[in-house]
Subunit: 324 residues, 2 copies
């Protein structure tokens, strides 16, 4: 793997070392995108684990200590904590440093962090649209961002060179970069990420509370479709609590539209309107094709899930006595 | 792979050769579960393709011709067509033959097919809970049913030997077999399969109709969660139209519960009740673990989707002029 001719940044400070933070560290190191990495995490257990995993050159105890001398600071924590962290690190930031984040909501991050950042620091919020259902420093891997999009939402007065340098950092990690307003970001992600998560969390909860169908049955027969939802509904609870609290307006707007559409399909079912159902289901099929065509999902059936082989001994007695 | 010492059935007739029918043929042949396979499909194009693919020993033009001399008949078509097909094949069925299906709704199949089947024929409806988003004879593969559940819903007066023989057939194809009433099946699958599909079809439609967010943005940023839903919403439109028309009561019942739960979470978002959200999201995480533990989904993150490697040439110019 060809590394960069020279690092894009000298010292990267990562505040938060979960799935995203630890993947950034691993990828940045693999690509030679930064000279050194300093990391911190809130709990002593996590800091100890990060030191063991070794993806950072240095692990420090406080956010303020982490940012000292860093020319790139990336805050990788739930969006609800971003304001507090900005306040903590503000006084220690190096002049000319770029401060960014990875939060799934951008409007609130802009509002909460900007007031605490001193003049001469470049603030460029970012959101890599990538992840898995796993959390923590062990969950990260260097390829997480490859072919995924990273959205930058720089404030209007942002320094274009600083924005472009951060874009290059994300491209070095394999991501495609797009720039848009924080407001538009929150609307787009409201439908492509936040609403799907809310719906998945809801339906998994519904299935878990049915008296007539046991949990054991729900698990056993989940391959009928339900299991796909459980992956999303296994995402980090703190992160997602904050997403819904901090992108409330866009989520409620998308939810309103979803409810209208669900009412329409419900009515078609109740009235036995097969044609309306068929037309809707044909239209949605095309969206999948579009996603696969632009490389945002695998063309392999069933996400490429693997299948075990056929049994070698398929009970060769035609009339077994042990009926179940 | 050890084949069966002797086939469980002499001649398998498959009416319908889509994803499920063609997978049954491929698996039954691989396992030596039947001596010969005759298949039919409604359209001449499909019959021609089935002949080319060669997973059946014989391809015939009519349903009536297909079942002649067959001791196992499996109807693999959308549930809305099952009654008509039963009427067509009834007079030609061999005495002692077992007639089954693979429909995702069992109450309507029982009601629609049973009246057309002559005495001396064993009717054992079945539902293998397995599939992918692809359709047609090319989409099938022999491992589709391995470690998945096949639910049998025999009528109360069913011959236990015939039921057990069909169970052995499904076990030979790698499936686990469970028996329950058609009514209970329709309730269980209402939550583990039908409601998830309805929700996925809805949200994918909602995303496609937003003025403020373009379709291109929906596709690009779909890795935030949305893409998972598009797979399910790419399932066969005819099959799923019929599922909702024929399992209307159970689907509407589950939908009612889902709507209650969604209202509750919506209220928590609107009121800023982070604790309620956090508690709900923590509970749903456990369901995922349960599904992975019993082998009904992959423990690999992100369903085991593959990730491309890091770019070899990550744009090594620290200050590029081509800002986007």
């Amino acid at each position: 793997m060809t590394k960069l001719d020279q690092p894009l940044f000298n010292r990267l400070a990562l505040i938060g070392t979960g799935l995203i933070g630890s993947s950034i560290a691993r990828a940045a190191r693999a690509q030679g995108a930064v000279r050194s990495i300093v990391a911190t995490a809130r709990s002593p257990e996590t800091r100890r684990r990060v030191a063991e995993l070794g993806f950072a050159d240095q692990v420090v105890e406080t956010n303020a200590a982490a940012v000292e001398g860093a020319d790139l600071v990336i805050v990788c924590i739930p969006v609800g904590a971003c304001g507090t962290v900005a306040k903590e690190i503000g006084p220690n930031l190096m002049k000319g440093a770029t401060v960014s984040d990875v939060g799934s909501v951008k409007g609130s991050v802009l509002t909460d962090m900007a007031p605490h950042l001193p003049a001469g620091v470049h603030f460029v919020p970012a959101h890599p649209v990538a992840g898995t259902e796993n959390s923590g420093p062990d969950a990260g891997f260097p390829e997480l961002f490859v072919n995924r999009w990273c959205i930058l939402t720089p404030p209007q007065n942002a320094d274009t060179q600083a924005v472009e340098r951060l874009a290059m950092f994300w491209r070095a990690l394999g991501a495609n970069v797009e720039t848009m307003s924080a407001e538009h970001h929150d609307l787009v992600l409201g439908i492509t990420s936040h609403l799907p998560h809310l719906i998945a969390y809801t339906i998994v909860g519904t299935a878990d509370e049915l008296g007539a169908v046991t949990r054991s049955e729900v698990l056993k027969f989940s391959a009928g479709g339900f299991r796909d939802f459980t992956r999303i509904a296994a995402s980090d609870p703190t992160m997602w609590r904050d997403v819904f609290l901090y992108n409330k307006d866009a989520v409620l707007e998308m939810l309103g539209r979803f409810n209208e559409d669900l009412s329409q399909l419900t009515r078609a079912i109740r009235m036995g309107n097969g044609e309306a159902l068929f037309d809707h289901f044909t239209r949605t099929r095309a969206i999948r094709r579009g996603i696969v065509e632009i490389g945002q999902d695998s063309p392999a059936p069933d996400f490429g899930r693997t299948h075990a082989g056929l049994p070698a001994d398929p009970l060769p007695r035609p009339y077994a006595a042990d009926n179940e």
